[in-house]
Symmetry: C2
Subunit: 193 residues, 2 copies
DNA sequence: ACAAAAGTGTTAAAATTACACCCATGG
DNA sequence: CCATGGGTGTAATTTTAACACTTTTGT
């Protein structure tokens, strides 16, 4: 069970993946996705929470992405890996890296990330739970832009994204503005419930 | 590990799911998806083959759908279930039932099928491996129509489906016709490689 | 006034859907 | 010649994408 722990850093407008430096076992000293072996009868969600504890991060939710079953992925022997996502606001003890600046990772974790990134990108704006956790309760269109850019690797059109936001159920634009320094201040978007 | 074993019956133009009557354990006597417990280090594909052996069916390929982890799904204790699909032409020793005429099933298998059916429907025409196994090397547009109807529960528009087929890479319409009895004979579609 | 940042408007292209109409075969 | 099944044509609708233009702020 490996977790893609995501954290959106509002100040820098970067989306980062939480990595964990291994201390033991194979690939000791290298960075890896936080992961644990699934205990018999354990729920995926609980295992994800255990994995996140490795980087001192809390997150109450996680969703499953895919299951990898290549027998050679772990030199200790063949194991399944269920890849899951989680979103957090804690920075914990993790090393946080952007998707576009990923260092080498232990096991087949680069492959896992490469495989899961487009899935996460596809969930943005479509999976409201996922989306809302990433954006937080309130955000600016620029944050939305940054999130999509970080996930997909390409900056979307501002105008089109504004319309996407306007069409999202549960999301409304407030009449408040937020200034970031220079330039025209942006409108604050807020989730309803 | 549970397998949704699919079989397209050309003569009746029905898509059927292979079910297995349990002889032991909980739910003995009831119908269930063929499944096995994943052995340590076993590949999903191999486990699926073992499961299919329960209904005396061979199939060289399978793909994963989702993983279910509800702890109460099996009265023997909490177990994960990776749902996978497989397509076969053998009838084996299974009970074959249409999606729309599913009897009660053991465990949470009805839920699994309900959850996976739309996923399978979404794979049709998009996942060429899956699609090709269902249709066989050659088929008529009517078979395509039947497949989509059986998977989605609604008959699509014939004209639109014809165009969908025409746009599929690797698929070509031959100049051969096939008569089914009464009515105008249909054109044979064939996969290239 | 100008550059930077945010937002609106308009249009083009593509995909989805719906439906009317024409063709080929068996009785 | 007509019912049945198969196929083509056309148009409306919606989605996605692209790009030009306007507004608001700080310096």
């Amino acid at each position: 069970m490996d977790v893609l722990a995501l954290r959106y850093e509002r100040s820098t407008r970067r989306l980062r993946l939480g990595l964990h430096r291994r201390t033991v076992g194979p690939f000791a000293g290298e960075l890896a996705l936080p992961g644990v072996l699934l205990r018999r009868g354990e729920r995926i969600r609980d295992a994800a929470a255990r994995a996140l504890a490795k980087i001192d991060v809390r997150s109450d939710a996680a969703g499953q992405l895919v299951t990898f079953d290549e027998p050679n992925r772990d030199p200790r022997g063949p194991t399944l890996s269920i890849a899951t996502w989680a979103v957090t606001t804690d920075s914990g003890s993790a090393t946080w890296q952007r998707f576009d600046e990923l260092p080498d990772l232990a096991f087949d974790h680069r492959r896992i990330v490469a495989d899961c990134r487009p899935r996460l990108a596809g969930m943005l704006w479509r999976d409201s739970d996922f989306t809302r956790r990433l954006t937080g309760d309130e955000f600016l269109a620029t944050d939305a832009l940054a999130l999509q850019a970080e996930l997909t690797g390409a900056t979307p059109d501002r105008g089109n994204l504004n319309r996407t936001l306007a069409a999202l159920p549960g999301l409304t634009r407030t009449d408040r503005l937020a200034s970031t320094g220079r330039g025209r201040p942006g409108t604050v978007w807020a989730w309803t419930p």
